[in-house]
């Protein structure tokens, strides 16, 4: 085989493997879709039907008319965007500080980040509620944002630390010789190079917040601040699960996430050139 043939063979193998892997995602998702367009009667018919006899789009109408999902999506976007932006800012600062400086307490700080994740969250529910009550943050966007950044900052900071470490320190030194302040070096020189890490971190923070259920349920029970997962939780009744509505909502609300992912993933890749700086 020539080099070119070998490469084509490789790419075909990679392509087929990815196709197979994707099918493990696509089949369940198609099943969700198929469930969402079934009527209650056909949901449990045997044998299994991929394409229902009666195709009903009612679930997609009901999620806007019978349930205030429009409002929930608005709330979710607001809360989660806020939490994501704050996490990004705070954790890139922390990551940069821990990457570039060896100050007293650095190690303790990095350990503390991990420790905050180690206590079972179900036992944090009551103290979080008490805390938010003290701050007057029950049933506010701010309360949820505060809760969510406390979940996302630790991994986000560690990730940013990792990405900053991969950017050569010589760049900072060169900038400071040119007279740039620490802050300007960080903001104008190092941050642009850390974009792929920032994009990955943003996706992480956004999705964690978007799917969080338990704290949203308790900290934001008022309909005006309820988020999407809490709305979905209401479709899982004690006596009956509204399968078609639940699947319809889950698919619909994943669309904004996919759009955000599509938007952010170009930054994930851009480091191919950024990394070249290192050379």
């Amino acid at each position: 085989m020539t080099r070119k043939q070998r490469q084509r063979f490789h790419m075909t193998a990679v392509f087929i493997t990815l196709l197979l892997a994707s099918s493990f995602v696509i089949v369940p998702v198609l099943w969700m879709f198929s469930t969402s367009i079934k009527t209650m009667e056909e949901m449990f018919s045997l044998p299994i039907k991929w394409i229902p006899e009666v195709i009903s789009w009612n679930a997609y109408k009901r999620i806007w008319t019978d349930y205030p999902f429009g409002r929930y999506i608005f709330n979710s976007i607001l809360v989660v965007s806020g939490a994501t932006l704050i996490s990004l800012l705070v954790s890139s600062l922390a990551g940069y500080g821990a990457s570039r400086f060896r100050f007293l307490g650095r190690t303790a700080f990095l350990t503390f980040l991990l420790i905050t994740q180690m206590f079972p969250s179900i036992m944090l529910l009551i103290p979080y509620f008490k805390l938010m009550k003290t701050f007057g943050l029950i049933n506010t966007y701010g309360g949820l944002i505060l809760a969510y950044i406390s979940f996302t900052i630790p991994l986000a900071s560690w990730l940013m630390l990792g990405y900053f470490d991969s950017i050569p320190k010589e760049l900072d030194d060169a900038a400071s010789i040119d007279g740039a302040s620490r802050w300007r070096t960080f903001w104008q020189i190092v941050m642009p190079l850390a974009l792929p890490g920032l994009a990955a971190t943003a996706i992480y923070a956004f999705i964690v917040g978007w799917n969080e259920y338990m704290f949203a349920l308790v900290l934001a029970s008022d309909p005006s601040v309820k988020t999407v997962p809490v709305g979905i939780g209401e479709l899982i009744g004690q006596y009956r699960i509204a399968w078609n509505d639940m699947m319809a909502v889950s698919l619909v609300v994943s669309i904004p996430l996919i759009i955000i992912f599509l938007f952010l993933q170009k930054y994930l890749v851009s480091s191919l050139t950024a990394g070249a700086v290192k050379g």
Binding site: F44, F129, I138, L217, V218, G237, Q238, Y239, R240
Partner: protein, 419 residues
Amino acid sequence: MKSASRFLICLTIFGLTLGFGQTTLKIMSSTIVENPEGTVEQAIADAFMAANPDITIEFIGTPMNDIFKTVTTNAIGGELPDIFTNTPEFAATAEDLGIVADLNEVFDAEFLAGFYPTALEESTVNGKLVVLPWFTVPVGVLYRADWFEEAGLEGPQTWDEFVNAAQTLTQDTDGDGQTDRWGFAMVGSKNGSGFFRFTHLLRSQGAWELYKDADGNWQSDLGSEGMVNALRIYQTLNESGTVPPGVTETSYGEAVSLMASEKTAMMVTGPHTIGAIIAQNPDLAGKIYSVPVPMGTQRSASLGVGGFSIAESSKNKEAAARYLQFLVSTENMLEWNRVTGRMPAQIEAGDQPQISGPIYAGFVEAIGYAKPSPQAPFYTQIQEVMGEAYQAVLVGGVSPEDAAAQAGAQAAEIIKNAE
């Protein structure tokens, strides 16, 4: 009534000082997020607000699976709504937390006398009426009357008849050599749904999972002969193939789907399930009848009270009482029954012709056998032991004798540790 008027005065003064008389009642409800329950509940609240323009009702919908967790968290944080969904299972905890008003002081005795005494008894803790009963969901057996008739069977009165009917109705209806219809939608999951159903089989064998003996000490019959018998009945039903595959993963929802998709003939459950089944399969309307849980050595039933509590911390107790009194009218209870299948908690509503006929016969009879469940802080641990015992017999290949012996020992350990 005296205290009610005191609240009224307080409320008026409070309202006057603030310069407005508008009261907002916050109600945390689990049924408001269900369908069709929520529609009825909202309509009742709307009618109430139309009649009482000084009161605004705001519902906080919380799924039943999460409601007591949410109530507890809110209570400990000091931010409880005025009214919240409550049941006898949580009544003792709520009273222990000191978060519920004594409804004996809020409502007058004459009004309360209209409820089934057992319903009030189950809702009372330490002499305090903690829950105002709104509906009951007595436990019984739902069965496919049409299939039973075809097979020349009557609704099962004893467990022998039950097992026999289950075996007779397990069939291969399309003749392809594989069973496609089963006798019994057994709920074998290790959760509240599964525990609850097994409990009534157990008690019908004369054994109680937990009770106080004459000296006031906790006792458990989980190691007794009655437990062995109960486990053996589950074993027989499962091993003779009368239960669809996957018994331990069949929880309430799966069992309802089995009934609705006409895969099973019987299910141990309450009257609300009829509504859930018909919502999934309207063809089954009128084909499902009920009998009480079959006899072993005795009958067993529970009332399954559902209702509302008023928070001790509420500043609007009078308005809350007015709403609840409006809610539990005969007319509303009948409408609630018509739409959701749940049965009235008041005698007058329960006596209406709507609550009769073969569909409800078994549940009406069951009310007479109802006994409250024990209220001990470690009760859920006892249930857990019970769940592991029946799962061990169903899928673990353990004999009923061994499973009972182990369950008995574990129950004894739990009781000992609690003291």
